[in-house]
């Protein structure tokens, strides 16, 4: 029982070679089958994720949520899916057909592709590439391309506006996200996902780099395009945005990508900062690692839904100002602190840990002071005009 996933792979390999398939071809076929199984599994899990998210949203809003189709409404997503599949795929006039068809594929691909390097449990990872973190960034950037093409090929000005907003948002927030992803890389000394998890045996990186974790969380929310960063599909402003002309299953693919991305953020945050599959007893029973991993990811995923339900959408100037004037400098500061601590001593030594924690504390103190000064300036800023005496407008001061 020490290596169940390896044993399954070995079993199928033996089966194929027993059928007379050449060894090299057999392992190649097995890899193709593994990739297909992982991708299909991810996509099927969205059936459950969408139902769970709708149920959670409903509870947070004091509603019941889907409860008619099947036990606890669990079959609701399948019913919705059946509806989407049977709907007509509408191609408006002037649509650039091949690009229009390609865009949802790219968006789904960019999310499913990330799961290729996610370590579920010890020795249970599709591909432990030594540049795992860089791979995540590169695959994620393909999604931007897909959304952009969707907006452009639709021949609709609202779709194009949504696409422009998307590029402004996704490309901007990628900068601090990549910067803070460097922090676990520096702490572990590797870009491989398995090595990053293994290095957290003594201490999770969320303790050593709390600011980096929060920054990763915020920027991931923006990359996902969820509230409060859902400017790219603002129903009230630009008639939904980049996917306004999509119908049927092609719209469903954007939908699936967004919901799967929310859980993917949980998986990445767990791997990079929360110790991945590490937990008590995981070395004896590797399957326990899967439970720990999914549990930690689910907590992050749940908090994303909570944020989505609690915060209103921010304006586009606020979105850009937050990124370039606040998150990016902070991310640079955290990276500098981690680099300085890296020079103090090897990983795990007392000196390095102390420098790391004190540095984070100093950065945090400066951040809070800067925020306080900013808030004070906002409070004291002159109002546009002195309000009339008997004002009834909501924005006017009391006197």
């Amino acid at each position: 029982m020490s290596d169940p996933f390896g044993q399954i792979g070995q079993f199928f390999l033996n089966l194929l070679t027993g059928l007379g398939v050449e060894a090299g071809l057999a392992s190649f076929l097995l890899k193709v089958a593994g990739a297909a199984a992982l991708a299909t599994g991810c996509l099927f899990s969205t059936f459950f994720l969408i139902w769970a998210e709708r149920k959670l949203l409903a509870r947070l809003q004091d509603r019941l949520g889907p409860n008619r189709t099947g036990p606890f409404g669990m079959l609701q997503t399948i019913a919705d899916f059946a509806k989407l599949v049977t709907k007509e795929l509408i191609f408006p006039s002037g649509v650039d057909r091949p690009v229009f068809l390609l865009a949802p594929l790219l968006v789904v691909m960019s999310v499913v592709g990330i799961w290729a390097v996610v370590p579920f449990a010890p020795r249970f990872i599709a591909s432990d590439v030594n540049v795992g973190v860089l791979y995540v960034v590169s695959v994620g950037s393909i999604g931007t391309l897909g959304i952009m093409l969707a907006g452009w090929s639709s021949n609709n000005k609202y779709a194009l506006l949504g696409a422009f907003r998307t590029v402004a948002q996704l490309v901007s927030y990628e900068v601090p996200m990549v910067l803070v992803m460097l922090v676990p890389v520096m702490l572990s000394g590797s870009m491989g996902m398995v090595a990053i998890v293994e290095q957290q045996r003594s201490m999770w990186f969320v303790v050593l780099a709390p600011i980096a974790f929060i920054l990763f969380y915020i920027t991931s929310l923006a990359e996902n395009g969820r509230a409060p960063f859902d400017l790219m599909e603002a129903e009230s402003e630009i008639a939904t945005g980049y996917n306004v002309e999509y119908s049927g299953l092609m719209f469903g693919m954007f939908f699936v990508a967004e919901f799967l991305h929310a859980f993917t953020i949980g998986a990445l945050a767990t791997t990079l900062f929360l110790g991945g599959w590490l937990g008590p007893g995981v070395d004896r029973y590797p399957l326990l690692g899967l439970v720990y991993f999914l549990g930690k990811s689910a907590v992050i995923w749940w908090s994303i839904i909570w944020v989505r339900m609690s915060l209103p959408r921010i304006r586009i100037d606020q979105m850009l100002a937050l990124n370039w004037k606040f998150l990016t400098p902070l991310a640079l500061g955290v990276v500098v602190v981690t680099a300085v601590a890296d020079k103090v001593g090897p990983a795990g030594t007392l000196g390095r840990t102390v420098v790391q924690l004190v540095g984070n504390g100093v950065v945090l103190a400066f951040t809070l002071l800067a925020l306080r000064a900013y808030a004070a300036r906002l409070r004291n800023r002159p109002t546009l005009a002195t309000p009339p005496a008997a004002s009834t407008s909501l924005g006017a001061p009391a006197q």
Binding site: L134, S141, M148, L149, V167
Partner: protein, 176 residues
């Protein structure tokens, strides 16, 4: 033929075809999409050569940044949906000449690589070590730190230039 060779031939043919379509498609956005396809093909070739780092960098920089920039520029500058203008201008001979020169130069360079003669290049023994060496050489004073820093200063200058151009000339309006 091993599966690897079949995949290689397929990807190589796909890359070449995409590169051809980049220059022959009349629609600029389609051309840039084929450019992305060609760049992705090169990334897959890197993967087949077990150069995972180069493959990831290829996707991040060329597809994630440069191709998106090109598409963005095309979308913002021209009415490409109905664009069917001439595909060549009078500088085509210069472009053809430089392409030929680069191709010849690369061919000459590759003919000096020892692995070119062998049927199938052997796998690199210490790929991670090579990667570490690449990283160290970029920050080593005796090696490539100067070109590396010059490149970053160039990028910084371009960024400042863009900000200067985008800035309104005087404080006409706005709170900032």
């Amino acid at each position: 033929m091993t599966p690897l060779q079949i995949v290689f031939l397929f990807v190589a043919a796909f890359t070449l075809l995409s590169a051809l379509l980049v220059v022959t498609r009349p629609n600029l956005v389609h051309a840039s999409l084929w450019l992305i396809a060609a760049l992705a093909g090169v990334a897959v070739l890197f993967v087949l050569l077990e150069a995972g780092f180069l493959a990831a960098v290829q996707v991040v920089i060329y597809i994630g940044a440069i191709a998106i920039l090109i598409i963005f520029a095309v979308m913002l500058t021209r009415r490409v949906m109905s664009d069917s203008g001439p595909q060549v201008n009078r500088n085509w001979w210069g472009a053809a000449l430089s392409a030929l020169l680069i191709f010849g130069g690369l061919l000459g360079l590759f003919s000096q690589v020892p692995a070119v003669g062998s049927a199938f290049p052997a796998a690199i023994a210490n790929a991670d070590g090579l990667l570490e060496d690449l990283g160290r050489s970029l920050v080593d004073v005796n090696r490539y730190v100067l070109p590396f820093e010059v490149a970053s200063v160039l990028l910084l200058a371009a960024m400042i230039g863009a900000i200067v151009i985008a800035r309104p000339a005087a404080r006409e309006e706005g709170e900032e």
